[in-house]
């Protein structure tokens, strides 16, 4: 058993579990934060994307034990205040989803790329940086559109 202390969406947690416990299973099964999805077995789909210390990472390929002292943000922790986060609002506005399965991961990746590139986020860069997220429905066009709109909306503010 390993004991790991870290934060999830700003809340201090202590996870006592077998070393093999994956972050995504802890989030979904223990904390009941089921917005983080599992779409594959090969670390390729990005449905499980969360932020660890401000960087997008795939929670299906992280052990909780690796996270001592880290800050984890999930899709549930993204919105500040009452309304949705700007990226969530943009996905709604521009119809950046169909079934919605990939959407939490897409949004977590989108926030990460807006943080890294700011206003330099061109359509080419968005498409390139979405390489770790798979969507089986939309064909990506509206996802890219949503991210572009969100980046424009958010220029000047901290994502």
């Amino acid at each position: 058993m390993n004991k790991t202390r870290f934060t999830v969406n700003g809340r201090q947690v202590t996870c006592e579990a077998e070393g093999r416990t994956l972050l995504v299973d802890y989030l979904r099964q223990q904390l009941r934060l089921t917005g983080t999805h599992v779409g594959c077995d090969t670390t390729q789909c990005g449905a499980c994307m969360v932020h660890v210390d401000g960087k997008a990472m795939k929670s299906c390929t992280l052990l909780v034990a690796q996270l001592e002292g880290s800050d984890v943000t999930t899709i549930e922790g993204l919105a500040q205040g009452n309304g949705p986060h700007s990226v969530q609002a943009a996905f709604k506005e521009h119809h950046g989803l169909q079934c919605g399965f990939c959407t939490p991961g897409m949004i977590m990746s989108a926030v990460d790329m807006i943080r890294r590139h700011g206003e330099a986020l061109t359509e080419d860069v968005i498409r390139h940086d979405l390489e770790g997220n798979i969507c089986r429905c939309t064909g990506y066009v509206n996802i890219v559109k949503s991210i572009k709109a969100a980046a424009k909306d958010m220029s000047g503010q901290t994502p």
Binding site: N2, E18, G19, R20, L22, D41, T42, T43, Q44, G46, M49, V52, K55, A56, M57, K58, T61, L62, L63, A65, Q66, E68, S109, D112, M113, R116, D129, L130, E131, G132, N133
Partner: protein, 271 residues
């Protein structure tokens, strides 16, 4: 995944001790290769010794006038975003920034990639193409001696990579034809020319025994450093991989195309 013990030691000595005391240990760095492999039960180590808590394995530093050092546990993202790296040789950051996707780059490390020696990985082409020095917990090994075969290296049981040292090339470039799903190299070619006039051409993604040097291209480029030089020079006599992604003769053709692209893109580094 089978159960295992997990340790995150603070220094190399403690890590080596933990590895020596375990039945069947594995070092864990970014986990971007090892954890998927364990999830599929293709690997089942008894103990994971996480090396990312070892401060001396992290970072990027100039070494002397012409050198660069990268710690084994430095992430692909850190390498791709580093100004020290881009000032040293832009091809290094470009290569790191082309690995997988942003999430993989935020976690995966150069040490894990080189230790793993996947035949389609990018970093082996850099280490062989620069004949970099691989520093381990025991010794130093040159790129030329490090890669032994597919997923095989000169590392012995319990030997840990601590860092890599590079000598500045006059100019260098990396071109890859990525697999559209995984971004691993179907073929990747690293070309470097050094101050003494020597040229090295390293090819990843193609060889059944992993990364290799294309010697005829190196000789032709010493005579004339231009994409014309690799147009007709004989292909290295190695067994090319043939799979669902690309047949052997297609890979051989791609090597020439990627080498030409790398040569055309070659930029003289600043300073």
């Amino acid at each position: 995944m089978h159960e295992f013990d997990y340790f995150k030691p603070p220094n190399v000595e403690a890590a080596l001790k933990a590895a020596t005391e375990a039945d069947d240990p594995s070092f864990l760095s970014g986990g971007m290769t090892l954890l998927p492999t364990m999830k599929q039960r293709l690997a089942a180590p008894s103990t994971l010794v996480d090396v990312t808590g070892i401060e001396s394995l992290r970072g990027i530093e100039p070494r002397g006038e012409q050198g660069l050092w990268i710690g084994a546990a430095t992430t692909h993202f850190e390498v791709s975003a580093s100004e020290v790296v881009s000032g040293f040789c832009s091809a290094v950051g470009t290569l790191a920034g082309g690995i997988g996707d942003p999430a993989v780059r935020h976690r995966g490390t150069i040490g894990g990639s080189v230790a793993n020696n996947d035949p389609a990985a990018d970093y082996p082409a850099l280490i062989l193409g620069m004949n970099a020095i691989v520093e381990t917990s025991k010794r130093t090994i040159r790129g030329d001696e490090f890669f032994v075969g597919m997923f095989e290296t000169a590392l012995t049981d319990g030997e840990m990579i601590t860092g890599f040292e590079f000598e500045r090339p006059n100019r260098a470039s990396y071109a890859k034809f990525p697999n559209p799903a995984s971004r691993y190299a179907v073929v990747g070619v690293f070309v470097a020319e050094f101050a003494n006039g020597s040229v090295r051409v390293a090819v990843t993604g193609a060889g059944s025994d992993g990364v290799f040097r294309w010697h005829a291209a190196e000789e032709a480029l010493v005579d004339e450093f231009s994409e014309r030089s690799v147009q007709n020079c004989p292909m290295e006599d190695v067994d090319m991989m043939s799979d669902i992604h690309a047949a052997a003769d297609y890979r051989a053709a791609l090597i020439r195309v990627m080498a030409r692209r790398a040569i055309i893109n070659t930029v003289r580094p600043k300073g």
